[in-house]
Amino acid sequence: MSDMLLRMQGINKNFPGVQALKNAHFEVRRGEVHALIGENGAGKSTMIKIVSGVYQPDSGDIQIAGQAAHFGNPREAHLAGIATIYQELGLYPELSVAENIFMGHAPMKTRLGLRTIDWERMESGAEDLLAELNIHDLDVGAKVGALNVGNRQRVEIAKALSLDAQILIMDEPTAALTESDVEQLFSIVRLLRQRGVSIIYISHRLNEIFDLADRVTVLRDGETIGTQQVADTSEAELIRMMVGRKIETLFPKQMAQIGAVALELRNLHRPPLTRDISLSVRAGEIVGLAGLVGSGRSETAQVIFGVLPADSGEIIINGAPVTINKPSEAVAQGIGYVPEDRGRQGLIREMTIRENTSMAVLESVSRYTFINRAQEQSLASQSIEQLSIRATGTEQTTNKLSGGNQQKVVVSKWLASKPKVLIMDEPTRGIDVGAKAEIHRLMSRLAAEQGLAILMISSELPEILAMSDRILVMREGRLVGEFSRDEATQEAVAHAMMSEAARQAASAAP
């Protein structure tokens, strides 16, 4: 097609341990709003980082207006007319609106033989650019740091236009906006489309896509699933395309005897990401907590664990209300937390397996505060054996282990504390398939054989569906859906994660 502005074909991109894009393709016409959607980790970010020159593909072709293009860095992409609207990252808060817009290409004049910035032309230029976007209420002399999020975003868009951008990439542009700002953003986007600017629009909010986009491309597991005219598709179809991820040899869940309520939350509240959360997890039960990145799952886990103490609400362990204001209190109440960020939160990477394994139970391997090396040693050896951690021995530092084995060390640290409740945040992220299955088998065994109550956060729907007895869905800090193991399907859960209408849908689910 002659009006094809950007064409990407056969794009491959590998990162250590994961193939982010597999033979992906993507095309953008001149003057269209093209939405790019997919689950967390589907490859959207990688795709736009390749378009904007941040990453270079391992293989594949990129054409701009029919010409082969290769961007070695973001600047080359800029020069080719591709601009990205980041969330506030691209601006200098201490500089004025006009200075920000013309950063790097300010109009110059020569006075007394010196080249200096032509402030008058810069300010009038900035006013003209904003006027083109129908923005008349922004003072070009104001400091950007003093503006609200919506106005900062407008400055970013004006900056992109000052560079004659042909393709504008917007990554979750409405995430931080108020409703009236969203309206204004949409009208600017429509204005730009009329002028022939192409917009790549990434959003999890499907209703926005139906409002704004002309076409939509769905990515899943790094592959392009398909491109649709928005007018010819439906929310249900898009969700179907997004989910249905391949299920990697998951361990079959062992059905457990479900016991009494071990952990109960009543109206737990710490805005913005934990709002009025009430839930319960029973002994032997694995409850999956699904939701998009930023929906408040990890924050809620950290409220329970005392990292971010609750403003209000109750935490009840085995029927008794408890106060948890810091992690040490959570540990004392029998809560373990396998955190999302293994290297920063889960492990002390520079320390040995022995030292990490005993970290949460130092008291119990000590006498009169002196750590009993032999007892510690045997604890670590047991962990290595029981969880089959592949290591040279208890004295190996954990930064030398593979991701899966590091995760096992984190789990063994909490198992040593003999918890009643174990919160596992993305327990299998970034670890290989074999180790994943082992972690799943372990979780299943802990619940079934030891009656541990497990709250599992995961962004992988197949994992959530396979491991959970019950599934809870969070969106924007609230619980918006609950499914039993039998009624849950990838489509239904994904729908609850993404759709505004989820609350009704969840209650109406069969």
Partner: protein, 327 residues
């Protein structure tokens, strides 16, 4: 496959100690002592070495909590000022307020402890970075000391008061006994107890330590308070040694202490270090100072040599660490 954990043989252990940071430092110290001994025959004598033990006690005592603090990735710049403050409070409460001397000593040490507690409280509760907080109290505590002393020095203490700073016990300077016992106790505390383990964990990854349920804030508050306490004790010993109290006591000692700790192999970024290393660092610096002066070097030349040895030791350590990291 899991290979069976291999028990280190005696040769392995010996090798481990020889190429450890402490081992290298000890070697550098031996070489220095031998070199200095060839330059002057006044250096390598029992009397001189014991005298040096007397002089290094204050730095040595303060270097113990400083090692703890630097292991957690923090720093305490205010120790010299706390030492001066404790000394002044001691002299002032005895001479001006008329406290019995025993009580004045306790008051002095307690004032140092309180000063350390204030440091810790602001660092833990308000989240002021240790460098900033203790830089501020470096000025603040010194100002307090000067304000209290009104430029008067307290002297004329009874004879028993000088026993700690000037006396001997079994032929060895009294305060050196204190230093030896303190080093042994707190060396073991660091290496063997929950506190020690927690300090290493905090220094390597404070977030990880918190997420493991360690009471990070409590430990930090404890060691900054401990630092104030030790600076207070050092202030007392200093007064006892020099027979007088002046408000500028301990000025600049923080740099000697930090130099010794870092020379002893404690990483300024936190996570590693030992009391043994710090002790060797303290001894090495003291012997260099003394030996070079006795050899007839001017004091500015002495400082240059000490600085060079510090850099050399750090280079050797880094070299060893990178070799180990690769193997």
């Amino acid at each position: 496959m899991q290979s069976a954990p291999r028990n280190p043989t005696r040769v392995d252990k010996l090798r481990h100690y020889l190429i450890s940071q402490e081992g290298v430092l000890f070697f550098i110290m031996l070489v220095s002592v031998l070199l200095l001994a060839t330059r002057t025959d006044k250096f390598l004598t029992v009397d001189n070495l014991l005298q040096q033990g007397r002089f290094m006690t204050e730095v040595g005592l303060i270097a113990i909590p400083m090692t703890y603090i630097i292991i957690t990735g923090g720093i305490d710049l205010s120790v010299g000022s706390i030492m001066g403050l404790a000394a002044i409070v001691l002299g002032w409460s005895w001479q001006t307020l008329g406290f019995p001397l025993e009580l004045a000593i306790i008051t002095g040490v307690l004032s140092g402890t309180l000063a350390g507690f204030v440091n810790g409280l602001f660092i833990v509760r308000v989240g002021v970075p240790p460098l900033i907080m203790t830089l501020a109290t470096l000025a603040l505590f010194r100002g307090l000391a000067e304000g209290i002393s009104q430029a008067r020095s307290a002297r004329g203490y009874p004879e028993w008061f000088y026993q700690l700073g000037q006396g001997e016990l079994l032929g060895i300077p009294t305060q050196l006994w204190l230093l030896i016992v303190t080093v042994a106790v707190f060396g073991i505390v660091l290496a063997r107890t929950q506190l020690g383990r927690a300090l290493y964990a905090i220094g390597n990854n404070e977030t990880g330590a918190r997420f493991s349920g360690l009471t990070v804030n409590r430990y930090l508050l404890l060691i900054y308070t401990f630092s104030g306490f030790m600076a207070g004790v050092a202030g007392y010993i200093f007064v006892s040694r020099v027979s007088t109290t002046r408000s500028d006591m301990g000025a600049g000692i923080e740099l000697d202490v930090i130099a010794a700790v870092v020379l002893g192999g404690t990483s300024i970024f936190g996570g590693t270090g030992s009391i043994l290393g710090t002790t060797i660092g303290v001894v090495l610096i003291q012997l260099l100072k003394n030996g070079l002066t006795l050899s007839g070097l001017t004091s500015d030349a002495t400082i240059v040599v000490i600085g060079s040895v510090l850099i050399f030791a750090i280079l050797v350590n880094n070299f060893i660490l990178s070799r180990r990291g690769n193997s």
